[in-house]
């Protein structure tokens, strides 16, 4: 795999540890957390650790930065690597100083012997100690010895980002940079019939116009010229449009009736004997397509060499430099070795957005101007209209209950598209422009990863409660009218919203308290602890009854295997739903950086509140119509709830991913609070006035 410690880090004589993990900064603070892990095992000050960007050919191939797995897996690998690095330096110092290893101590990279003699990492840096394959013979520290891990080290990258230093992909300005823009088709499935590029080409500062099938772009010396020229091309192009999308008003019916591949994802026991069943209850829940809606539209810079064998260099905010390299090489017909992808931070990334797509846009335009770097930044309309979406879906839950309302059998069914069309997932090139080029193929419908890896549509569809029997079925759509891919928490958002709303429906039917009802079928002590903590901290059950105010709870263990999270929401439901407060309890085992972890949970909960209250991708039969902040509104400062996060003690448990844990429980808690406030069960997201009204009994 990654056999040499030198692949992960370098020790520089100047007293710096250069760390090059394969994971990338998405705005989540992961590089700070990984720097802490390294500083801890190496016994150096975190200030000495310099985090290097992931680059193909240099960095270890850690695949994608996704799924809340970085601290869990990359952190664990880094811990072993750094323990071995420390061990090798101590051994070398022991030999040099003539002192047994166990008599040496390390403090901030200084290796000290009791007789006063000393060496250091920096002094031994040139000795090639990190070039030998790893042995795995070195034990990391016990958690009880941690001094850096578990502290809230401030983010390393924020001072630059907050004072305007160039730190983002969009800010690159290499010599000779020119600016590219792509003119997307006016609708899905539209083809470029006629184009007169003369007027665009005549604009002073336009370098070239690129047309390849229905892929159309322009390169200009200045960004303002590229924008004008793209506008000119748009006006001078004729497209053949055709309707390819389902009727938006009939989206749930489309999801239910489209061709699908049906699979049983999980099963325990069988249906109970008819005599045991006192009642049966069922309900159907729906989520719309959701957009990533990052604040910075996707951007990439590409350079094709103008001498010798063509080589392509790309700077990208991709989640995976190696998978993107492979996809780009395939797309442009180069060997992977002739393509280099360097990670540069983008705006906040919550999954598979347009980052990889724009890298191909930039590469295709750069091929037309060898020797000139080309920077392409998407428009807001392209970002909201063309990046992959989190899939729309339906979930139907049915339960058979005994006479006290306890679940005897639970059936969870999902209809929707899969959640990954990332590079590498598809037989064709899974990048937007590839399908628009002459002879290009559409990206094939997203597949369903196995449940052992957390699933996609099936994520968190397996009950987290101790039900005696259940069955989980997924109907993966074989038609993908809008491209769907990974968005923070994947299927867990709807599955948890559905299951936790349904738990409340069952509790209400049995006349039982929602918290008591959950605890009655929850044996896992860590699960019980977060539910109890959120209930206690929010003052569950002790609120004075107030007009139009309500409280609700939602709980899940992310992926049934990662962080435990319980959320209590307080809402006010007057002319619209407002979330006043979210009280959240999380158990993620060992926490590397408590404030960073709390920040992730707060942010995730606020984003989930935005999804739950406001967000829906709008479309007509031709294309996406929600392509601005006016048509795709997100939660604003005046609408954001207070968020109170309690991180439960790690209890000696290993670190679990935390970044996505709050998404589903937050939505469920809000839905349950709306029911508490209004007595109306809203099963269609978002919880807008319109959907609340539609859910009211006639």
């Amino acid at each position: 795999m990654n056999p040499r410690p030198g692949d992960w880090l370098r020790v520089l004589p100047a007293g710096v540890i250069e760390l090059r993990p394969g994971k990338v900064e998405l705005g989540q603070g992961v590089l700070t957390a990984l720097a802490q892990v390294a500083a801890e095992e190496l016994d150096v000050s975190p200030a000495r650790v310099r985090m290097m960007p992931a680059v193909t050919g240099l960095s270890p191939d850690e695949g994608y930065t996704s799924g809340s797995l970085s601290v869990q897996y990359s952190g664990a690998a880094l811990r072993l690597v750094c323990a071995e690095v420390r061990g090798r330096f101590v051994a070398a110092a022991a030999a040099r100083l003539g002192v047994p290893e166990d008599k040496l101590t390390v403090a901030d990279g200084q290796i000290q012997a009791p007789n006063g003699r000393a060496s250091s990492y920096w002094e031994l840096a040139g000795a090639g100690l990190l070039d030998q394959p790893a042995t795995g013979d070195y034990q990391p520290k016990p958690a009880s010895a941690y001094r850096v891990v578990g502290t809230s080290l401030p983010r390393l990258d924020l001072p630059d980002k907050l004072t305007g230093r160039p730190r983002y992909t969009h800010d690159l300005s290499p010599d000779g940079l020119c600016y590219g823009r792509v003119v997307r088709p006016p609708s899905r499935g539209a083809t470029l019939a006629r184009l007169d590029p003369a007027a665009a080409l005549a604009l002073p500062g336009v370098v070239t116009v690129v047309r390849d099938g229905s892929f159309l772009g322009v390169v200009a010396e200045r960004e303002e010229v590229a924008l004008r020229a793209a506008g000119r091309l748009r006006a001078d192009a004729s497209w053949e449009r055709r309707p390819t999308l389902p009727d938006p008003a009939g989206l749930p019916a489309f999801l239910r009736s489209a061709a699908a591949e049906t699979a049983v994802l999980a099963e325990r026991g069988g249906p109970p004997a008819p005599g045991q069943v006192a009642t049966s209850i069922e309900a159907t829940y729906h989520r719309p397509y959701l957009a990533h809606a990052s604040m910075g539209p996707s951007s990439a810079t590409a350079l094709v060499s103008d001498q010798g064998t063509p080589r392509l260099r790309v700077w990208s905010h991709t989640q995976g430099v190696y998978p993107l390299r492979a996809e780009l090489a395939h797309a442009v017909g180069l060997a992977e070795d002739d393509v280099t992808v360097t990670h540069v931070a983008g705006a906040g990334c919550y999954g598979h957005n347009g980052a990889d797509d724009v890298a191909l846009d930039a590469a295709l335009l750069a091929m037309a101007v060898p020797g000139r770097p080309v920077q392409v930044t998407w428009s807001r309309a392209d970002e909201l209209g063309w990046a992959p979406f989190g899939p729309a879906a339906l979930v139907h839950v049915a339960a058979e209950l005994d006479s006290t309302g306890n679940v005897l059998f639970w059936r969870h069914q999902i209809w929707g598209n899969g959640h990954s069309t990332r590079p590498g997932s598809n037989p064709s090139v899974a990048l937007l422009a590839a399908g628009h080029r002459a002879g290009g193929r559409d990206i094939e419908p997203a597949a369903e990863p196995p449940m052992s890896r957390g699933g996609g549509a099936g994520r968190n569809s397996v009950p987290g409660y101790d039900f005696p029997a259940y069955q989980v079925v997924n109907h993966r759509l074989l038609d993908m009218p809008l491209r769907t891919s990974a968005l923070r928490s994947l299927g867990a958002f709807l599955n948890v919203f559905a299951a936790e709303s349904f738990m409340d429906e069952l509790a209400a039917a049995a006349g039982r308290d929602p918290v008591e009802y959950r605890l009655a079928c929850l044996a896992d002590p860590r699960a019980r602890a977060v539910v109890e903590a959120a209930a206690r901290r929010s003052g569950w059950g002790s609120w004075p009854r107030a007009e139009s105010a309500g409280h609700g709870i939602g709980f899940a263990r992310y992926k049934n295997a990662s962080a435990y999270c319980a959320v209590v929401a307080e809402v006010a439901a007057v002319s619209e739903i407002r979330v006043r407060r979210l009280t959240i309890a999380v158990d993620a085992g060992l926490i590397i950086n408590p404030d960073g972890a709390a920040n992730q949970v707060e942010g995730g909960a606020i984003q989930a509140t935005s999804w739950a209250l406001k967000e829906r991708v709008r479309f007509d039969r031709y294309g996406v119509t929600s392509d601005s902040w006016e048509t795709y509104p997100i939660l604003r400062f005046t609408e954001v709830p207070a968020v109170d996060v309690e991180l439960l003690p790690g209890g000696g448990n290993p670190a679990l991913g935390i970044g996505e844990a709050a998404q589903g429980p937050t939505a469920a808690a809000i839905g349950n609070a709306v029911y508490d406030a209004l007595g109306v069960r809203v099963r269609t997201l978002p919880l807008t006035g319109e959907n609340v009204l539609a859910a009211m009994p006639d």
Binding site: K161, L162, G296, I634, F637
Partner: protein, 167 residues
Amino acid sequence: MDDERAAPATAVLVNGQRREVRTERDTALLYVLRNHLGLKGTRFGCGLGLCGACLVLVDGLATYSCDTPLWAVQGKEITTVEGLGTADQPHPVTRALIARQGAQCGYCLPGVIIAAVGLLGRNADPSDEEVRVALDGNLCRCGAHNRIVRAVLDAAAELRAAPEATA
């Protein structure tokens, strides 16, 4: 950029310095700042004045640079986030944001800082609600809102205690 020589020259006053740029007079101020002057802290978010990532101060007033043409800022004083402080000597608002770790990706923050500085210029003692209203034109997708609001309140308190702290 050969074509640039053909474009008209315009003088702009940015962060206390008079700079000359060559571009068409209807070019958005955003591109003048980012590309002609290399001030990358002002960010493109939507191009329509709907998200606040591109905010700059024009004569002290928070203004969307993405839909402000160059001709409209002639003779006016423009302040970008780079003009408010550096990583070593940050503006009190920026310092408070770092202290509160009031960011995740950080992309929207320069616009937020500009809006906050604009607010504190006209209201030295805003309430939580007034800060939220002032920042309502700034979108943040990572969910750092509450930390940002607390940081702005911290900075306001600091500036009231020591008004000369303004960089």
